[in-house]
Amino acid sequence: MKKIGMALLFFLFMSQTVYADFDVQEAINVAKPGEIVHIPAGRYRGNFIVTKPITLQGEEGTELIGESDKPALRIENTTNVSVENITLSGKSKAIVVSNVDGLKLRKLQMKDVHTGVHIQRCKNVRIQEINVTGIEDHYSQKGNGLAVYKSEDITIEGNTIEQVQDGIYVEEVKRIVVQRNKVTSSRYGTHLMYTSDAKALFNTYVHNVTGLMIMMTTDILLENNTIANHFDFNGYGMLLFDVQQAKIKHNTIKNNRTGVAMQKSSTIQIETNDFQMNQTALEGTKVSNDTLASSNNFTGNILTARSDQQGFQLKNNYYDDYSGIDLKDNGVGDIPYVAVSSFGQWMVRQPVYQYFVASPSVLLLTSLDQQINKTEKNMLVDHTPKLAMKYVQEKNKMNVVQMLVGLFLALSSLWLWKRGITE
């Protein structure tokens, strides 16, 4: 019995350390440009390098394990390389790509790596269906899930990333689409820096410090993303710092410390988003006058909007705490909605005040604000607040049958009454 147990233990441990005989690097070396290198199932230890246009194709159970502190796979100075269906692991970066025009990475698994994919000075890159799981540690000790530097024409879609520093880190990139990705338990979901012509669409960012961190970037579209549960001391759903020309549309932004924050930014359009249950829905400091939040729904937020002296424009939004009436019956409140709050302004200056946000004294102060600020004309004032999230104007319908019956009854009553008088 003891022998059988020992044998089972032997196989259990040995199965983790057995490596396949197939020589991956040799297969890469002998492959001609355009060929597909099939890597059979097995665990291959080494630091592999590709410098020619080929496809590396694994199968279920194919794993490349990086040795020492070097990447498991490097792709350099070439064109048209594809890598698919492979698991990569190791202490350092899983894949490093430099100076490649035409790269496809698809269906790759990366586990317990410091950094998933590091791409620099590349063009025409497509990264699809990659799973990256970082090491168990504080995010300051980790690398990024997918990082792209100084590159052009990038598509990152359908990836799942967790437990890294920044899920998708993008620096000095022109033309990038980040779509249908899911990033959780990381520092920033997607972090854009010095980038232009960027789109983030249909992504899900949950339980990071900040969902979308956009810095020194121009011409961006953030649409149909779900950004939730960023409630750390420094947490934001989205933070835009020094951003010009951004459109933020159709996003669901809920349960964040601050839903959308803008700093030193200009020409930002925030429209048709759902802001739900955020501590503060919208925050702006040093934003230009042409920044506009319109047709959004604000429900269940503690503070709707706060800003410095400059403020930003609010127009035609729905606010669940608006108490006006609509005598004109056009779906728009007859008195303006004033979002200015003394406490909100203080919280911009001293973030630690957030811990008093629902205290009785702050509630009293907010009630007083709502009375006093009715005279506020410009800053954080919506002159056309919507009364319902979806306003449907009821047309006056005429029921002919009901009208005829009513008319008959009225005339009959009149006739009976008159007959009663005359008799």
Binding site: Y139, S140, E172, R187, Y194, M216, L239, F241, A261
Partner: protein, 150 residues
């Protein structure tokens, strides 16, 4: 006797009041420290900076460029001391005494490409491995054009 004691206590008080206040750098807390200027959390400690204000508060920065922007915006009168991390040794050094090297291809959190060292020798050693750069001192940083350079 009482008068003597009072005089001694008064002198001690005056001396304590006149003594120069010292400002020590504090350690970075990655969980909560964010850059005062750009709001990025401070995770790349080798490039971090901090200012100990005269009122006892500390402001943290992720990059020397952000620290200089704060100085420019708030003036140096409020500053008790300012420190920057030595990029090679990861130790705090006074921003005024530090030696800086600029190369547009050096990576820093804000990508400004300026890193700090405690001596010229350390800066030279850095340049032998990371690429040649332009030596700067603290005065040069005031006129430096912060941003990425093509």
């Amino acid at each position: 006797m009482k008068k003597w004691l009072m005089s001694v206590l008064l002198c001690c008080g005056v001396l304590v009041g006149c003594s120069e206040k010292t400002y020590e750098p504090r350690e970075i807390v990655s969980e909560t420290d964010v850059c005062k200027i750009c709001n990025m959390s401070i995770v790349h400690n080798a490039y971090a900076g901090q200012i100990a204000l005269k009122n006892g508060d500390y402001e943290m920065f992720d990059d020397i460029g952000c620290l200089m922007e704060y100085m420019k915006a708030n003036g140096e009168d409020v500053v008790g001391a300012a420190y920057i991390k030595d990029a090679a040794k990861n130790e705090w050094i006074d921003v005024i005494n530090a030696v800086y090297v600029y190369n547009k291809d050096y990576w820093t959190p804000m990508n400004y490409g300026v890193v700090a060292f405690d001596s010229k020798e350390a800066a030279q050693e850095w340049m032998t491995t990371e690429g040649e750069g332009q030596l700067l001192d603290y005065k040069d940083l005031h006129d430096f054009k912060w941003g990425i350079h093509k």
